[in-house]
């Protein structure tokens, strides 16, 4: 029997964006958070280096500089009104987090500590600026814990380990969601006036990824299946420094603290690709540089990785060469102890997974699939927009990585994921509650969970000719090979064809576990279906975009083409598996597109 619950606002996802939305919505609306994981397991907790905000605690900084850096980082694809809004709001958002109890690292005078991060600059000198507010190298962990703590304090209704499988629309408005309770296998309908998706990203479609297993694009897939487009899906960030083979993230903060990248010849190769900012260039720029070094045979021992070196002797040597100083003007010099205190978790990862001590040995790294710039289209209030005219779908909101506002455009700056989820999570929650206040409970369609039952039945009763695990492996391989850091027409065509084939084969999968209680096989297989849908839209959008911009680097179209491509992609997934593409203009306020040099 399907149980029905009624709320004003239902939030899907218990990470940073979902919890921010919950804290804000619950002040005036009856709110529930549905999360397929215990909220503290969410991937926000894996964010390391910091949250960007122009507090100016250590040196001159302005939110306008943060905004320009974000626009430039986005390769001019970010919507500038939304970026200005986010960077201005970021300052208050960080103070709010501190007021909630977040244990930021501190400066000598007791203020929130800040460090340099890729692409964040003093706009006058073009040098790196200390803008990333951090708590050692576990800033995301602290944000997630702090927000969860506040949710407990405020008595938020949590439905933990409830996996949302569908969105309910009624008369063109959001009317709730359908979820399965993992512990019982029972379906639940959450009937509500407003729904906020905060479901995170979809990096699990790539072989080498920093993303959690849970990052399967559920929100994007569910909205696609309900006729809502996905925006800018071709833009997916590869973080330059993942642990070799494992993909586990090594934060940019390592380079913020003075770490240097070296190729197999011992050259600091970033000098050639970004002469001014070098190892702190934008992520897309560095990931491409690493690929090119490897392609030219300059990986370590000719293999497909390079070194990230944060040994004190290396840091000090290059800090001296670069003339780097501390805030008081003294030369920047570090000891092994200081480095370890700034990056304790990275040290732990290296020791655990590599048997390497980062202050004694360089770390083998390679680019790793990291962050979805694209996703469910929204405006700056988190309202989901469904076409190129800015038409809002009443009652539906999205925030965090699953959403595309777009503030990250073609490439996200480091620290801006946390800014995004705090700022837009907050506004999505506020706006959803406001909307719920003035809205009647929508009519619930007859049999709202029929579609979900059909999906699950298909998975349980397929022919069994195909295995989900094998389809997953083939998907991750083709996405890595052909929809990765560099792309070509031929590769993308191949990828589109392959993903279509995999989607067909997926219909022949049969889940072997017929039970109801914690049927993890059934849910993992359902998640694979989400990845396949998101992958198809990604590959088709990438094939069509005939230019190179930010994270979308086409070998056959190596230049950015503002004349034809200064626009957002919108992709609709039709029921027959075809993808329809449309476009909408980028919002430009005061930053005219120009060449992007670091």
């Amino acid at each position: 029997m399907t149980q029905t619950h009624v709320f004003d606002v239902v939030i899907v996802g218990g990470g940073g964006a979902g919890l921010m939305a919950a804290l804000n919505a619950s002040r005036s609306a009856k709110t529930a958070v549905l999360s397929k994981l215990y909220p503290t397991r969410s991937h926000t907790g894996a964010a390391q280096g910091g949250i960007g905000a122009a507090l100016g605690n250590l040196e001159e900084d302005h939110w306008e500089w943060h905004a320009f850096d974000t626009v430039k980082g986005s390769d001019y694809l970010g919507d500038q009104d939304a970026i200005e809004f986010m960077c201005r709001e970021a300052v208050q958002a960080v103070y709010d987090l501190e007021h909630f109890g977040l244990p930021f690292s501190r400066t000598a005078d007791g203020r929130i500590a800040q460090r340099p991060f890729g692409g964040h600059t003093n706009n006058l000198t073009k040098k790196p600026v200390r803008r990333s507010c951090y708590a050692a190298d576990r800033t995301g962990h602290m944000i997630l814990q702090t927000l969860y703590q506040q949710c407990i304090k405020n008595g938020i209704n949590f439905y933990d380990e409830f996996q949302v499988l569908d969105l309910i629309l009624s008369d063109g408005k959001a009317a709730g969601v359908v979820a399965v309770e993992l512990a019982t296998g029972e379906l639940h309908v959450f009937h509500s006036k407003a729904v906020v998706f905060a479901t995170g990203g979809h990096g699990r479609m790539w072989e080498i990824t920093s993303n959690a297993y849970a990052y399967t694009g559920d929100g994007v897939a569910i909205t696609l299946r309900n006729g809502i487009p996905a925006e800018d899906m071709e833009f997916f960030q590869f973080h330059p420094t993942g642990i070799y083979k494992l993909g586990i993230l090594i934060t940019e903060a390592v380079r913020g603290e003075g770490g240097i990248l070296f190729n197999g010849k011992g050259e600091r190769f970033m000098e050639r690709y970004a002469p001014t900012i070098k190892d702190l260039a934008s992520r897309d720029v560095i990931s491409r540089a690493i690929y090119l070094e490897i392609k030219e045979g300059r990986g370590i021992n000719g293999k497909d990785y390079v070194y990230l070196d944060v040994r004190p002797e290396t840091v000090n040597k290059y800090a001296e060469l670069d003339g780097r100083t501390r805030p008081d003007g003294t030369p920047y010099r570090v000891t092994a102890e200081e480095i370890l205190s700034k990056i304790p978790d990275i040290t732990d990862f290296c020791r655990t997974y590599l048997g390497v001590d980062p202050v004694k040995d360089p770390m083998p790294i390679q680019p790793t699939a990291h962050y979805a710039m694209g996703g469910i289209p929204t405006n700056k209030y988190g309202e989901v927009v469904v076409d190129d005219q800015g038409t809002v779908l009443p009652g539906l909101y999205a925030a965090g990585e699953c959403a595309c506002v777009s503030v990250h455009g073609a490439n996200r700056l480091g620290t801006n994921s946390l800014v995004d989820l705090v700022v837009f999570g907050k506004y999505a929650g506020i706006k959803a509650a406001e909307y719920a206040k003035g809205a009647d409970l929508p009519r619930l369609p007859a049999d709202p969970d029929a579609g979900v039952r059909r999906q699950l039945d298909n998975l349980l009763n397929g022919s069994g000719r195909e295995r989900a695990a094998q389809i997953g492996r083939e998907l991750r391989k083709v996405m890595m090979d052909d929809v990765g850091v560099f792309r070509t027409e031929e590769g993308l065509k191949q990828a589109v064809e392959k993903v279509r084939e995999l989607r067909e084969r997926y219909k022949q999968v049969r889940v072997s576990d017929g039970g109801k209680i914690f049927n993890t096989e059934l849910l993992n297989t359902w998640e694979l279906g989400c990845l396949l849908d998101a992958a198809l839209v990604t590959a088709v959008s990438a094939l069509e975009r005939k230019e190179s911009r930010g994270a979308h680097a086409r070998e056959d179209y190596p230049r950015r083409d503002d004349e034809n491509w200064l626009k957002h992609t919108l992709a609709w997934l039709n029921e027959d598996g075809s993808v329809r593409l449309g476009y909408k203009p980028v919002v430009i306020t005061q930053y005219a597109p120009k060449e992007r040099v670091y």
Binding site: Y38, F100, A212, Y353
Partner: protein
């Protein structure tokens, strides 16, 4: 290398009592125990149930007993186990739901009882951050690392013998606020923990400290809370 993985199995919809299944797996010495479990579920036996998410030791989903000790399955490499005979079992002291999945409900209920959130309604006049010196911040740094994986609480003999004991993880999270210079509810928390099911149940077995995948000095944190109750001072 070839490993023999012996896994605790219990399906409440079919089994009257638990049993063990043995899987022989060809793996790399650098594979995580979690990688082997994933491979078994994906390619051999889809009915195997366990939780996991981040796969690198920060989300706390996959705490389980591996060769008799609590670990995160994603933080143990096969080569570090020193044997190719591996027994994997669910955490002790919490009800088993299915295979390696335990009911985390009682664990989170204990956590919630210690007021695990900052209490301080006074905001600085300028609206900016509250000030806190690096030394004040360092005072509670260790206990901010907790990921609520339950490895500590479910390794504690006192918790095994009486599940009403609030357990090490809850005390760690109380400590995190008691020793935060910005917080104003230390007295209330110390009162909560000065209870027959509070800190005095700790018999300093050190199991929790050994089990913690975040290397939090849990026994020390508990001792600091005990001392604060005895002296009435938070230092």
């Amino acid at each position: 290398m070839e490993v023999r993985m012996r896994i605790f199995r219990f399906n409440p919809e079919k089994d009257r009592k638990p049993h063990y299944d043995v899987f022989t797996v060809e793996a790399q010495p650098t594979d995580r125990v979690l990688d082997v479990l994933e491979w078994i579920r994906g390619d051999v036996d889809g009915t195997l149930a366990f939780r996991r998410s981040c796969a690198h030791g920060v989300c706390g989903s996959d705490a389980m007993r591996i060769n008799g000790r609590n670990y995160l399955a994603c933080k143990v490499l096969l080569r570090d186990l020193g044997t190719t005979e591996i027994t994997v079992e669910p955490l002790l002291g919490l009800p088993v739901i299915k295979d390696l999945i335990v009911d985390m409900g009682p664990f989170f209920e204990h956590y919630k009882t210690v007021m695990p959130y900052l209490v301080n309604d006074e905001l600085p006049a300028d609206g900016k951050e509250r000030l806190q010196s690096p030394e004040q911040r360092e005072r509670f740094d260790d206990t901010t690392k907790c990921i609520l994986c339950a490895a500590c609480t479910t390794s504690c003999p006192s918790f095994w013998s009486n599940g009403q004991y609030v357990g090490p993880a809850a005390i760690v999270n109380a400590h995190r606020f008691i020793f935060d210079s910005r917080d104003q509810a230390a007295v209330e928390r110390l009162e909560i923990l000065n209870d027959q099911f509070g800190v005095w149940r700790c018999r300093t077995a050190f199991n929790c400290t050994e089990a913690c995948p975040r290397e939090i000095k849990i026994t020390q944190a508990i001792a600091e809370v005990k001392r604060a109750i005895q002296t009435g001072r938070v230092e």
